[in-house]
Point group: C2
Chain length 231, copies 2
């Protein structure tokens, strides 16, 4: 499908039909999802496709039994885990070597990333980082974050959201429909998927085909001049 039509066609669909969205098309959407830009290309995202009927039923409950979850062909839990920098560190170092990137880029993955993605046990490193970043920042432009574990999570969550947007647009371009859900019980979702402490549930995405009264009506957005500001 044409790009602009895909963006215009995508809506959050609250009710899906009984028709099952094909699994191979879902895989295609994952493939395009991970092509999203992301912080330092560290790919801190994960996508949990909950297929087992028992687990899916529990996930629907954890999504407060909302109709988008109840009627979906597939439910995908998108998570962000800042500790995933360890997963991609070596592959990234090999990759930057293979494309003969500047030496600083290799040093970046060897030293800067581990420094940035650690805040210490109980954020013990955070006060030191904060003092350094903000002292230097008095004299010259300086990144002030990430400092705390929460700051690092925020970076990971942002990247995961970018991939989720690619994902829902991909499903739309393949004729399907989606609903990004933030109405869920994070404690129950994490327990169900046995997710670690540093993992955060970014959203649960329902996938299917649009049913009758899948939306309440035409899309509403604020006028563009209220959100785009020229300086």
């Amino acid at each position: 499908m044409d790009f602009e039509n895909t963006v215009r066609k995508r809506r959050s669909i609250r009710k899906f039909t009984d028709q099952i969205f094909p699994e191979e098309q879902l895989m295609k959407a994952f493939e395009l999802a991970v092509l999203a830009p992301n912080s330092s290309n560290i790919q801190t995202w994960d996508f949990h496709w909950v297929k087992s009927p028992e687990k899916k039923a529990k996930l629907v409950e954890a999504c407060l039994s909302q109709s988008a979850a109840r009627t979906a062909s597939h439910l995908i839990v998108a998570t962000a885990d800042s500790s995933n920098w360890k997963r991609s560190q070596n592959p990234l170092i090999q990759w930057v070597r293979s494309v003969s990137a500047p030496k600083q880029v290799i040093a970046y993955y060897e030293k800067v990333v581990p420094f940035s993605y650690r805040s210490g046990f109980f954020n013990l490193l955070a006060p030191f980082k904060w003092i350094i970043f903000n002292s230097v920042g008095l004299f010259r432009p300086m990144m002030r974050k990430p400092v705390t574990a929460r700051d690092i999570q925020e970076v990971a969550i942002k990247s995961c959201a970018l991939a989720c947007e690619n994902f829902v647009l991909s499903i739309t371009s393949l004729g399907g429909a989606t609903c990004m859900m933030e109405g869920f019980d994070e404690v129950r979702v994490k327990r169900l998927l046995k997710l670690g402490r540093s993992s955060r549930v970014v959203m649960v995405i329902a996938v299917g085909y649009e049913g009758e009264r899948g939306t309440w009506g035409p899309q509403f957005r604020l006028p563009l001049n209220e959100v785009v500001h020229q300086h």
Copy 2:
């Protein structure tokens, strides 16, 4: 451009040519950006298009003078401000009335949103919210967040990221190139744009046309089976 090609063509470009990306196409990209799904449709995002040469020079510095910022035709600062729920509340109530949405939806925008988007002065409401959400959560599925001001910001940042992804894909589909930058001095950027306390800089987006050696080489991603998990 075709959707899949757009996603595959988008790369983070670190060096742009001298050719200026047309302003009317930039406006088109903003138009598609705000069609992204977002939390409760509250549209907490803002896009600051820094056009004045003096301010743009300062913004380049605040972006640590990286080449993507230095060589860009346009620099856009994407921000998230959770207090923006006040901006969209009345228009949203009018909209849900006009599409005859269920009564609960009107109550949602009248009562639930103001309750969810407030954490009180110095997070004073947060402990009470936390106790309520987690006590109820012992017995039945329950949203555990947002509780603190930071939680509310996180929701706003996530929505803004979704719009940013639409934005960069739109620019790509129009033949342009982009670079999402997180390497910036948030304190200086906020001062430059006179942003309020509750506003957070989500990213700075550089827009232009891809220059020579705009990337180091082919795109690298982890194998899909390392990030997609079937349960």
